[in-house]
Symmetry: C2
Subunit: 123 residues, 2 copies
DNA sequence: CTGAATCCAGTCGGATACTG
DNA sequence: CAGTATCCGACTGGATTCAG
């Protein structure tokens, strides 16, 4: 995972900047959406599946585990019958919400823009 | 491009939310970095290549064209000899900078965190 | 319900070579 | 310098199946 790395690099690897660190978390499909929905309220696995109608269980599971391992999401096993679990953002994870809010705002404008022209050069 | 779409969906497609719209722009490799560097100052193609030491010309070119087509980046041909060009953020593109700043802040903390444990469940 | 495992098609992006 | 074209391996993520 992570930014693709050149194999035949003749120069030392670039100083992995902090922007890439965090984008690596948000890049995979649905990752940002999962954080976004967890920002609204703690949620269980099945709830997230309904929030994100077309996500597959495999991917949701993978996202949650990665986000958890990075300290963005916390999982709480609830000892009921049958056993359930819920996920919530950590303090670190909550820091992402304002950023995502801004990104949503840009997204809104993108949706209302004239259809994107191809933008070719020097033809 | 865009979020993967299920083929065998029995329910109507989810309302493509604005978060996904914008993340689609930032998701491809180096895209956020390109915006970030352009936020600091207008830059030429070659300058960006030096800013992002391990990006390939092919990918940089592709990112710039996509960002331009979406109205986030503007290209200005400078009629010198030899002809050069420079890229800069549009007003819309500049809206992303505060968001990226927040993301960088989270990235800083991620770098200083204890090494991510695998996080497997119910073993 | 909450996941994990397997399979596999489609995409992404690096390497390389070439043009104006 | 500022890109574009082609080739191709690696990775992503959907579908499906199975388990606790």
């Amino acid at each position: 995972m992570g930014l693709p790395v050149r194999k035949n690099r003749t120069a030392p690897p670039p100083p992995t900047c902090a922007l890439g660190e965090c984008m690596n978390l948000l890049r995979p499909a649905w990752a940002a959406n999962v954080v976004w929905y967890l920002g609204a309220a703690p949620r269980r696995f099945g709830e997230l599946r309904r929030d994100l109608p077309s996500i597959s269980a495999r991917v949701l599971s993978a996202r949650l585990r990665t986000l958890e391992s990075q300290g963005v999401v916390e999982r709480r096993a609830i000892d009921t019958s049958p056993p359930t679990s819920e996920y919530l953002l950590t303090d670190l994870g909550r820091e992402l919400i304002p950023a995502l809010r801004t990104i949503v705002a840009v997204g809104e404008q993108l949706k209302q823009r004239p259809p994107a022209r191809p933008a070719r050069h020097s033809r």
